[in-house]
Amino acid sequence: MSVLTMARALGEGLSAAMRDDPRVLVMGEDVGRLGGVFRVTDGLLAEFGEDRVVDTPLAESGIIGTAVGLAMRGYAPVAEIQFDGFVFPAFDQITTQVARLHLRSAGSLQMRLVIRLPTGGGIGAVEHHSESPEAYFAHTPGLRIVTPSTPGDAFTMLRQAIAHPDPVLFLEPKRRYWDRGEVDLAAPPGPLEDLFRARVVRRGTDATLLCWGPMVRTCLDAARADTERDLEVVDARSLAPLDLPTILASVRRTGRLVVVHEAPVVGGLGAEIAATVAQECYYELEAPVLRVGGFAVPYPPARLEELYLPDLDRILEAVDRAMAY
């Protein structure tokens, strides 16, 4: 076991995947010489060379579009989009091509492709560097979306995502890049199905907090801070598909669910979860599913982001409301 930051764990995941499989390439803006603006790809150029670590032109549609072509050729590109807010120029390629080529070709084209996307706020950045666009992609059939919350998961899940034959959008909670945690660098990636399993990260009896990526730590902190209620925390890990068995089992145990994410609540992935749980656990729920998330406004200037993002207080306030039913 090594103790690594999430950024380093991701880098180790990439180099392990590249060592395991010569078809794996890394591509994106500044991923080579610089090692990425977050240094996730640091060292890869030196180890694997320019053919496998590609500093691309500054054009996101081009990154994804050429990655699609490389995947058609049998490569397994791992394409980095530098920040969440810059994924939109590639939206067409992702939704109309990446998500559909396996289907369109009735399975004859392999679309083994990972899109790494640093997401979320809390780093005091300028506009377009703090967004959480997961709901757009979760509404796009053909994609799989996963997001780790710890360095250990970051290492394993990235390797599984790269090994997976389907296109995977890999969301990296950028404000947790510097969190440290244990990583077993010697472990094999394990069964690919594990990639789509949610995990109960804290057992509790009164209510379930469902969260992912950057909000897992926040929810754990909230649960620990709550001396009155015994809160269960579930890390969704996979956003598409959702691991409904694990989620529903938790809600059935606790009877109450609060979904927490950074994206605006309106139209966010919490809506899908709430709608599904409300239907599936109709008789078990003791309160409506509540959602805590960003407000329905564009991500605010950095000096307001703490108010925008869910924090302990906002989460526990929602728990209060859930318990009051």
């Binding site: 390439l25 053919d51 691309t56 032109p57 054009a59 549609s61 081009g62 994804i64 579009g65 050429t66 990655a67 699609v68 072509g69 490389l70 995947a71 058609m72 050729r73 049998g74 490569y75 590109p77 120029p89 067409d92 390629q93 109309t96 091509q97 559909r100 080529l101 396996h102 289907l103 369109r104 070709s105 009735a106 399975g107 004859s108 084209l109 392999q110 679309m111 059939p141 053909g142 799989r144 997976h164 034959p165 389907d166 690919l192 199905e193 789509f196 598409a240 598909p241 959702l242 409904l244």
Partner: protein
């Protein structure tokens, strides 16, 4: 825009069927090849007119005719090696023919029984791409893969005059240029993007776009199968030799409607069409091979008969195309098991079974 016959246009076979020399581009076809090209052109035209007819008869939802562009498509496709990959738009029926795709697969796509229709690897032909321009980036990425594999394959990617305005096409130029990717950008400038004439997309001839990205651009008479084959062959060899991309603009004309849903009388004169009819891509080949004795009447008749057989096979085959099974929409969305897809597949199956029980 320079008309056919102007100095910046590569032409090797005039509309009258006379071979002419070009200072740079040369290609000699054997008699067999000439007959083969003629056969290609005739079969493609027959395929295309039959599909248009099938659409009129309600058998297809839509058809995008390639009428008038047969030489551009056949010439370019015949310039490739079988191992080269072609990336078409949605109108390259001529390339599909050359690459041995069953015409029924094209009909299936436009009938609405499939979203694709063939295995790209089997035919070296990517699937039709409907979102304008997207395939140009795929082609460049594929060519980057070839570079990594170290083979001498190359890529031919099609797009239209309208598509030249799309950001993705420009990005494809950038990626291809900086990577010296072995790709030929093959623009069929058929003068129209639905109702918009070329002047809505560019101030200058399209082949000159390449100069802005640092690679050569050539305009070729798109109705001259020989010139197209010569220029595309040259461009593919450049690609194989590591010189990177070339833009080939095939100057041609969309003789038919944009698609069977379109009504070109609303936006263009018949005079323009008449002028282009005199430059027909098939007539000039027929004139050449007949005059030079490469083909006799028996050969021409045999090709005509083959075309009729093809049409009959298309008619019969099209009507017999089965609708997909309901649950087929869930197949292949993912390469591996997906619980959401399974849930919905099960739901639909049970739901439809309910009707059968109720009905039966």
């Amino acid at each position: 825009m320079s008309p056919a016959g102007s100095p910046d246009l590569v032409q090797l076979l005039t509309p009258e069927g006379v071979l002419v020399e070009h200072h740079e581009h040369v290609l000699a076809l054997t008699d067999d090849q000439w007959r083969s090209r003629y056969r290609d052109l005739v079969l493609v035209r027959r395929l295309d007119t039959e599909a248009t007819a099938l659409q009129r008869q309600g058998e297809l939802g839509l058809w995008a005719p390639c009428l008038g562009q047969e030489a551009a498509q056949v010439g370019a496709a015949r310039a490739t090696r079988p191992t080269d990959r072609i990336f078409p738009t949605y109108r390259e029926h001529g390339m599909a023919h050359v690459r041995g795709v069953d015409p029924l697969a094209l009909l299936a796509l436009f009938r609405g029984t499939t979203l694709g229709g063939w295995d790209p690897a089997e035919h070296g032909l990517s699937l039709y791409t409907i979102v304008i321009g997207d395939q140009t980036l795929h082609a460049v990425g594929y060519a980057m893969g070839i570079q990594r594999d170290g083979t001498d394959e190359a890529v031919l990617v099609c797009f239209g005059d309208g598509a030249s305005s799309q950001g993705d096409v420009a990005e494809a130029f950038v990626y291809a240029a900086v990577n010296d990717a072995p790709v030929v950008f093959f623009c069929q400038n058929n003068q129209w993007a639905i109702s918009e004439p070329l002047q809505r997309q560019t101030r200058i001839p399209l082949y000159q776009r390449a100069a802005g990205y640092g690679f050569p651009g050539v305009r070729v008479d798109g109705n001259d199968v020989l010139a197209v084959e010569a220029v595309v062959r040259w461009a593919l060899e450049r690609a194989r030799a590591g010189h990177g991309p070339t833009l080939v603009e095939a100057f041609t004309y969309r003789m038919g409607a944009h698609t069977t849903s379109d009504d070109p009388t609303r936006y263009r004169t018949t005079a323009q069409g008449e002028a282009w009819r005199l430059k027909d891509p098939i007539e000039r080949v027929r004139a050449h091979i007949a005059r030079t004795g490469i083909a006799d009447d028996a050969f021409l008749a045999q090709v005509g008969a083959e075309a009729e057989d093809l049409a009959v096979a298309m008619r019969t085959g099209c009507r017999a195309l089965p609708d997909p099974q309901p649950a087929a929409m869930f197949d292949h969305v993912y390469a591996t098991r997906h619980p959401q897809v399974e849930r919905e597949r099960e739901w639909l199956t049970a739901y439809l079974a309910g009707f059968e029980r109720a009905g039966g």
